[in-house]
């Protein structure tokens, strides 16, 4: 469990990235921080592994105040996946994945063997192991990035807009893949994105942020969608327009759902629990 307690961050130039932020991120769940640029979401993420230190307040991991932990050691036990993969261009794929175990003192040969297994885990062919990152596609690089984040078998995985730079088709695949991985591995995932669809797809807990890290609403996707806390949230999730605002239209053969443009979005069927639609 990760807990933010009254955390604020003021940068030396005077900008307030985060003000009085408190939140519990439950273990083995995916918490998604979603907001536009300037919402402090990346700053919040980087405070967890002490890439950024809070100006005030504290962050606890399983009850332990992170400010009492040595930053380098802390980072080595927290997985980190970033946009544009952040792979080291001069390390082969296999050595990129093995980076953290090697830093932790695992013999290189053994670390490489584990890394091969991780390539399987993230759905990459082992034949890519000896390539350099520049020889991979964007989607493959991102998978290597995820494998690297998992290499030290961390309990916590931080993901900073990891799928932001790949095209929509590959992004959709990677998202599905992450859901599968999370089902298998049960990590505490903190995921940052500006894409509300991605947030609703991946998050067990979604945190919608306004400027300065102010929490607009916290809840499951269902809770947020069914009961937006205010106009900002309603507007942000687009509840009243486009593909989320669906209405029922009766047709001779049954009821269909149409969006605000009048285009068919789906068919109304009884719910999975047998209740009427």
């Amino acid at each position: 469990m990760i807990e933010f307690v009254n955390v604020s961050k003021r940068f030396p130039d005077g900008t307030v990235a985060v003000e009085d932020f408190s939140l519990v991120m439950p273990s083995r769940k995916t918490t998604v921080l979603v907001g536009s640029s300037g919402s402090g979401k990346t700053t919040l993420l980087r405070m967890i592994n002490r890439m950024v230190d809070p100006s005030s307040g504290r962050i606890e991991i399983d009850g332990e105040d992170t400010s009492s932990l040595e930053p380098v050691a802390l980072r080595r036990r927290i997985g980190y996946v970033m946009q544009n993969s952040g792979l080291l261009p001069h390390f082969k794929v296999i050595d990129n994945v093995a980076t953290v175990p090697v830093l932790n003192g695992v013999p290189r040969k053994q670390a490489r063997e584990q890394a091969l297994t991780l390539l399987d885990t993230v759905g990459l062919d082992r034949s890519l192991a000896d390539r350099y990152p520049s020889q991979l596609s964007g989607g493959q690089q991102q998978r290597v990035g995820v494998a690297r984040g998992l290499a030290a078998n961390p309990n916590i995985l931080l993901m900073d807009e990891p799928f932001g730079a790949v095209d929509p088709i590959v992004r959709a695949e990677l998202q599905v893949e992450l859901i599968r991985l999370q089902r298998e591995l049960d990590k505490t995932v903190v995921f940052v994105t500006h894409d509300i669809d991605e947030a609703f797809l991946l998050g067990d807990q979604v945190v919608i942020l306004e400027t300065g890290g102010r929490v607009a609403q916290v809840g499951s996707p269902t809770e947020i969608l069914s009961d937006p806390a205010n106009d900002f949230v309603a507007n942000f999730i687009g509840a009243e327009k486009g593909k989320r605002a669906l209405s029922i239209r009766k047709t001779p053969r049954g009821e269909i759902l149409v969006d605000t443009e009048g285009r068919a979005a789906g068919v109304l069927v009884p719910g999975p629990d047998g209740s009427p639609a």
Partner: protein, 229 residues
């Protein structure tokens, strides 16, 4: 041609001495420039200050330096150590800037990523920043190498053995073939060392070649992207 054939052993001897005097300054200026380049990028004020100071070294005329150095460090006037030290100073003058530029050229995102992985500052410098500065360092050391090999000849004015002796001797005795031989051999050594440095660069930076093959064509890239998924 006759002159060369008759004096081959002497030319060979001078070539070896030339190498012995010029290779250490090349290596030394590379090594010495690493901490200077690091320090230059470390603080906001240090870059302009350090790089200017070291660049000014290059403005010191070489001949007086060969006279002053023995007095300063107590070596003999004809000791080749003087040349090694002087040429190292010139090498550092060029190389410090290349090193600072190279280290600065490393993508900040990569540095951030390395930090997030749990590299300590020290490990990150040696395992990430310095290797990735490699192409710029290589470009810098190639200039230093060629310039050092050429400058080594100046020591001959004081009688310090190098291929420059072929110039001084050739001028004094009016043997054109001797002077020409000196020029050709110096250029040959410079080209050879340069080629060697390029090879070393290839060996130490295999990812650079990977990069080159990766950009052979857009079609190729597109095919890979399609195969990606």
């Amino acid at each position: 041609m006759n002159w060369i054939v008759n004096n081959l052993p002497q030319v060979w001897q001078l070539t070896l001495q030339h190498l012995a005097t010029s290779l250490p300054p090349i290596a030394l200026s590379f090594v010495i420039s690493v901490p200077i380049g690091w320090a230059a990028n470390r603080f906001r004020w240090s870059r302009g200050f350090l790089l200017t100071v070291f660049a000014l070294l290059y403005a010191v005329p070489s001949l007086p330096l060969f006279f002053v150095l023995p007095a300063l460090i107590g070596t003999g006037l004809r000791d080749s150590v003087n040349v090694v030290i002087a040429l190292t100073l010139y090498g550092v003058a060029l190389m410090a800037r290349s090193t600072a530029d190279g280290l600065e050229s490393v993508d900040p995102d990569i540095q951030l990523s390395a930090t997030a992985m749990g590299f300590s500052g020290w490990t990150r410098f040696w395992r990430v920043e310095l290797p990735l500065a490699g192409p710029v360092l290589l470009a810098g050391i190639r200039v230093v190498a060629v310039s050092t090999i050429s400058l080594t000849t100046v020591g001959a004015v004081l009688g310090i053995p190098s291929l420059g002796i072929l110039f001084t001797d050739g001028f004094q005795r009016g043997i054109v073939a001797e002077i020409l031989t000196g020029i050709v051999v110096v250029i040959a050594i410079a080209l050879l060392v340069d080629a060697l440095l390029v090879q070393i660069g290839r060996l130490l930076m295999p990812w650079g070649r990977a990069d080159a093959t990766a950009s052979t064509g857009r079609l190729d890239r597109r095919a890979r992207r399609a195969a990606a998924a």
